[in-house]
Amino acid sequence: MTALPPAVAGGSTTVDEVPERGLRIRGLRKWYGDTRALDGLDLDARPGEILGVAGPNGAGKSTLIKILAGETSADAGEIHLDGRPWDTATERDRVAVVHQEPQLFPNLTVAQNLMVGREGTRALVRRLDEQERSLMADLAILEYADHEIGSVPLAIQQRVEIGRALARDARVFLFDEPNSALTQEESTDLFRRMHLLADGGNVVVLVSHRIAELAEHTDRVALILDGLCTSVLADDALTPDGIAAGLVTGQAIREPEEQIVVHLGDDAATALRLDEWTHGAGEFHDIDLHVRAGEIIAIVGVEGSGARELVRSIAGFERGSGRIEVGGRSGGSAAASGTSLVSADRQTSLFTNLTIGDNMVSRLNREITAGGVALRRSRMREISHRLREQFRVKAPSVQLPIGSLSGGNQQKVAIAAAIVKRPEVLVLEEPTRGVDIGSKREIYRLMREYASQGHAVIIYCTEVPEVFEAADLVYIVSDGRLSEPLIVMNYADVEALARAVTRLERHAGAPPAP
């Protein structure tokens, strides 16, 4: 791995001068309050290459894309494109962003989408011109010209997005996790087009969590951590292992001696059992999983792998078929009564119109009422005060609106509300996303405490450091299949675990042999 000092990271020249061609970013800074999304990021993208961008959630990737797409402005820093300063907020025509969800007009046809913004000045609706027709033919979307965007497959929509950008002579193509919802075939085609764009001398940037694809399709990969580009991998250093290790460097906060060793006898009770568990919409198939009480299980997988759907299906929020058994009872109602889910998004786990205390007890019934009818305010106060102490929620009063808390403390409240219901299986999606280090520690401690009281905790993770710090076992999901478990304790450091996870991800993710 070639770790360059940040000042010249990504630059091949030692003298820092503005290159005549390509994208050059220097000292890009964007703070949200105390959160440093970008903290003086330097990055270079050359025309003719595909530059990969990788980093854990919250590292600043999405902020970088938002700035380049002109959706938000930077606090400081400069961006040059082809030797000229580029004001991304006003010169939006020079960039195309291809998202997992294309930003098109779903009620217009493919052809109309391509012409939006360049309709001409005549009052009459104009037809496609020759240039546009050949462009559409190149992208194989001409046959869809009169279809409404909402009715064509996602892969076609993405090509329309590319076509729109080409039609207005864009120079920079940002691909933001573009293929998480595509089939294998569609994503192969998308990569082929990415290479064509790069060969045409455009600046192509691919932001992805899929390490194998980054290694295969990009010329260089910039690693972004804590709002900075920490290193750029190229040539021999550009391997899946290299990327995986680079992503987790310095990310673990667990000290070796802090490592919690859990010895579960074979007689530990089964908290959850899945047999031939298959997703209603086909995101995962024939999963067999056995989780014992007292364990913390991590399930890892990129978006689109089926991992998130698997975790949600355990809590009954995605349809699954097969056999599910929670706490010795089988069937959907057992799963519903024996599990609690905390979603990754605090917008869907908290009630913003309620106080901190009311959020904490929002899932309770008998515990806070007389006979399920009248609320017992004193009980509610008692429980919420106890939870505030136990979860160390930093709030002067539990009667304050939930919005007055920091993200980390809000997350503690969301988890408290789920735990106080005492489910046999506690299911958490990305439990520390967007949470500060201090709260992270607290949340891991609370998960461990709950597990040690004889419950199972299942977490959906996208970050290896989280697995390393929080879980006993980790399973990897790729293409809807579950890997063999890895015993986290067996890995001395987070880099070793990251390499092992990546390897399993690749093996399971390989297209089935013909």
């Binding site: 917008q347 009630f351 119109n353 899932r363 304050l400 920091s406 967007g434």
Partner: protein, 351 residues
């Protein structure tokens, strides 16, 4: 990334003084109702000064205002539940019309005893509320569209059943007679000799307000209605009984419209098919002025009651000034909008 965290430190929000006892939420409700009461007092003072002596601020007139607000208040208290759970009901006015006509037709035309005619109207209310809730929760059609449609279906039913005739138990169709004891019992529902000449309907209104007030601020049902209305997605993940509670809210709303219809029929003594059509604005206005949020999760019984009172005082005062009905429309429209503007303002102050 930082989108869902607030940058304000908790201490700053607490303002040091907001202890557990006098919470931010209670303070907001207090401010809101307090503000409304001040507005009501100002309106009273203005009308007392403007009107001829001994017309506005008299016991008789005050009792009249209480009676005239009761219909709107009772229906609005039901609507408050629907609004709190994050839905809208536009059909209550037509439900009011159907209920009066069903009582009238079953009793006067079909010759049913009043003791069966009233349950029939309430059964219809349960039916209409259930249909609304079914379409909203099971078929997932927006409640605005659902109740816009069911309102017309209900209105059509009313016209069909009534044959567009006005009904009066004193004038039954030829060959039918309405037993006098039933007439007395029924009219007695809204006409009783009470101390101080208190109108009977005001007693009903206070009773309903107590029940809805208990539901919203003291019951698990109300607590969860607010949670569901505040964040339906989170409520689903927390496994709150969303479908059941929305059924309950729509059914209670229809039943309170029916109660109001029955009491008005008993007070006025006759009923016509287009009764209730004019309720849409004042009922919604009372709920909104009362501080309920149309996006759900917020609303109180005392607020809605105060909203209805304010509207009734304005209508009454302007009528005493013989101001012409257009002015009443102007003022009540302006007051409704002003209430929301004021709400935004106080909310931004709290932040």
């Amino acid at each position: 990334m930082a989108g869902n965290t607030t940058n304000t430190a908790p201490e700053a929000v607490a303002g040091g003084s907001a202890g557990d006892r006098w919470s931010g939420r209670a303070l907001a409700v207090g401010l809101r109702v307090g503000g409304l009461l001040i507005a009501i007092l100002i309106v009273i003072v203005v009308f007392t000064l403007l009107s001829k002596p001994n017309t506005f601020l008299t016991i008789t007139n005050s009792l009249g205002v209480m009676r005239s607000m009761s219909t709107i208040a009772i229906v609005a208290l039901g609507l408050t539940l629907v609004i709190v759970v994050g839905e809208i009901d536009l059909s209550f006015g037509y439900m009011y019309g159907l209920a009066s006509i069903l009582i009238g037709v079953a009793w006067v035309v079909w010759g049913w005893p009043i003791y069966l005619a009233i349950p029939l109207a309430f059964a219809a209310a349960v039916g209409v509320g259930s249909i609304n809730a079914f379409l909203v929760t099971v078929l997932k059609i927006p409640s605005f569209i659902v109740t816009l449609g069911t309102g017309q279906l209900v209105f059509g039913t009313t016209l069909l059943v009534s044959n567009t005739a006005t009904l009066n138990p004193a004038y039954p169709p030829p060959g039918r007679a309405v037993p006098q004891d039933q007439v007395e019992w029924f009219f007695g529902l809204s006409n009783q000799d009470l101390p101080l000449g208190l109108p009977m309907q005001a007693i009903w209104m206070l009773g309903v307000a107590l029940v809805i007030g208990f539901i919203l601020s003291r019951s698990l049902f109300g607590f969860r209605l607010k949670a569901i209305g505040g964040n339906p997605a989170a409520a689903a993940l927390a496994r709150l009984p969303i479908v059941k509670y929305k059924f309950a809210a729509f059914i209670i709303c229809s039943m309170l419209a029916t109660l109001a219809a029955m009491l008005d029929f008993a007070f006025i003594g006759s009923v016509q098919p287009n009764a209730g059509v004019g309720l849409l604005f004042p009922v919604f206005a009372a709920v909104i002025i009362g501080g309920a949020s149309l996006s759900g999760g917020r609303g109180t019984a005392i607020g809605t009651l105060s909203g209805a009172l304010l509207l009734a005082i304005i209508a009454n005062g302007l009528a005493l000034l013989s101001a012409g009905s257009y002015l009443s429309n102007f003022v009540s429209g302006a007051v409704t909008i002003a209430a929301v503007v004021l709400d935004r303002f106080t909310q931004s102050l709290r932040r």
